[in-house]
């Protein structure tokens, strides 16, 4: 079973080797001022990207039908925000994405937990889930829309379908990949199965599930946008499709920027949630 990185694991292996002595903690911390240097560098990179973008647009090498200059994009973005075109579209996409995401996470955690308790069931059903993952679900978007109509349902379904798998695999991995020593420890302490779950497997799984949530959020957004591309009355995907047809390039870019701001927001919220959950443990 493929899994994403479980950050805690490596640390544990390192320190249990005894390779790091008392100073080890300090070694892992960033040297003073590195944070500031990174921030300055990030700003420089941002400026370079904008400058490169502007220069490319000015040079005329790329058709204005494909690339709008950054100044114009910001202007249009502002205009869309003021005249109210941006918000309903953004709200629709956010709603579809979040609903799909939550649905996928709940379903994946429940199914993953059931699977981790029943290896027989897991081995029996897993090939089917794997098979359903190997074909591009984006390709069935038209079918789903045909079945579910133009509304919210097909977008949420697509978003959930795409987001489901990474959470499922990591839930199973997090609940089952505990070391033999840890299991022996809990057995020696006469822990019940529930206690083993509560104090060992669930906390262990969080280190696996949280990284998966980030990719699940991105995939849910892709699902929602694809659904809107196929057929919709509103949404960022719908708006982008419209603007591309009508040649409003700057508006297309403005929508993309709005989306990436939303993406960053989701990332921030997930990181915050992770920190809060870890602290509550």
């Amino acid at each position: 079973m493929k899994t994403q990185a479980a950050p805690g694991k490596q640390d544990q292996d390192l320190s249990s080797l005894g390779a790091l002595d008392q100073g080890g903690g300090a070694l892992r911390r960033r040297p003073d001022g590195a944070g500031l240097k990174s921030a300055v560098l990030a700003v420089l990179i941002f400026v370079a990207i904008i400058a490169g973008w502007q220069l490319t647009a000015d040079s005329g090498l790329v058709s204005p039908l494909i690339l709008a200059p950054p100044g114009e994009v910001v202007q249009v973005l502002f205009q869309l925000a003021v005249d109210g075109t941006l918000w309903p579209n953004l709200a629709a996409t956010i709603q579809e994405t979040l609903l799909g995401f939550v649905l996928a996470v709940v379903a994946a955690v429940v199914v993953g937990s059931v699977f981790s308790f029943s290896p027989i069931l897991r081995n029996a059903v897993y090939p089917f889930i794997l098979a359903s993952q190997t074909f591009p679900k984006v390709a069935i978007a038209p079918l789903i829309v045909a079945a579910m109509g133009y509304g919210l349902a097909p977008k949420v379904t697509l978003a959930a379908l795409l987001a489901f798998f990474p959470v499922l695999t990591n839930t199973i991995a997090g609940l089952t990949e505990v070391s033999e020593d840890e299991v022996s420890l809990f057995r020696a302490l006469r822990a019940s199965r529930w206690q083993e779950l509560r104090y060992l497997r669930i906390p262990n799984s969080l280190a696996f599930i949280f990284p998966a949530l980030n990719s699940a959020a991105v995939l849910a957004l892709i699902g929602a946008i694809v659904g809107e591309f196929v057929a919709a009355r509103e949404g960022v995907g719908y708006a982008i499709a419209q603007y591309t047809v009508t040649g409003e390039v700057a508006a297309t870019y403005a929508m993309l920027i709005a989306l990436s701001v939303f993406g960053l927001l989701v990332y921030g919220v997930l990181s915050l949630a992770e920190r809060l959950v870890r602290r509550a443990k």
Binding site: G18, R28, N204
Partner: protein, 272 residues
Amino acid sequence: MAIATGRQADKDAAPRPAAIGIRDVSKSFTRRGAAVQALEHTELDIAPGEFVSLIGPSGCGKSTLLKLVAGLLEPTTGSVTVDGREVTEPLPQVGVAFQKPTLLRWRTVLDNVCLPLVIDGDRRPESREHAKRLLEMMGLAGFEKHYPRELSGGMEQRVSIARSLVNRPSLLLMDEPFGALDEFTREDLNDELLGMWQREPKTVVFVTHSISEAVFLSDRIVVMSARPGRVHATVPVPLPRPRGRELRDDPEFYEAIRHVRSVLDEAKGGGR
């Protein structure tokens, strides 16, 4: 109510050390289809309060024997008893320390030490105080709120030992707990373990690869031989107690080491 307080009081007092009886124990595993005889016809009695080390070449079944006493494995034939009761599952009066510290990385040092209390449903503040005192005795005062990743290997192992003691076990089983540590850290931890044992007497079964460690700590050293694993000889260590670090410079200490080594060489040679 009277019974409840009685039990509570029992829990806080140092319990009477446990006695172990190992009667004609054999243990075989199936590994990749082939049967492996890990232990054969093993007999051993350990008296209450005794500090016994198990030593021998790898594959002699010393860890297997320890896990049988811990109730983590079941013997194929024969029986293991602790305080006259046959071991069929892990017993409550037993503390176990593993070769790896096996700390939960999401729990702080203090919360790791308190894990056995949490599992037992013991949420009394005085038990938590006891955990803090144990950490202090292990030289980890001030590290209660640290996470395992912030500790060195030696410190992690100290936490693990404090955890194995927090329930006031009458029997402590240690499976090469200092095997991965450097010589200096190992000696420090030997001193601390011995200090703890002298303060709160309990039966200890200690698996190790190190002859000097076994001699320094033990009343008796059980030398095992491999394939199939069995008890080759039992060597008493006549060094006086209490033992401190100065013992390591004592000629008698070296003499005892030499003796154990010769018995161990015999065991390795397969001679009987």
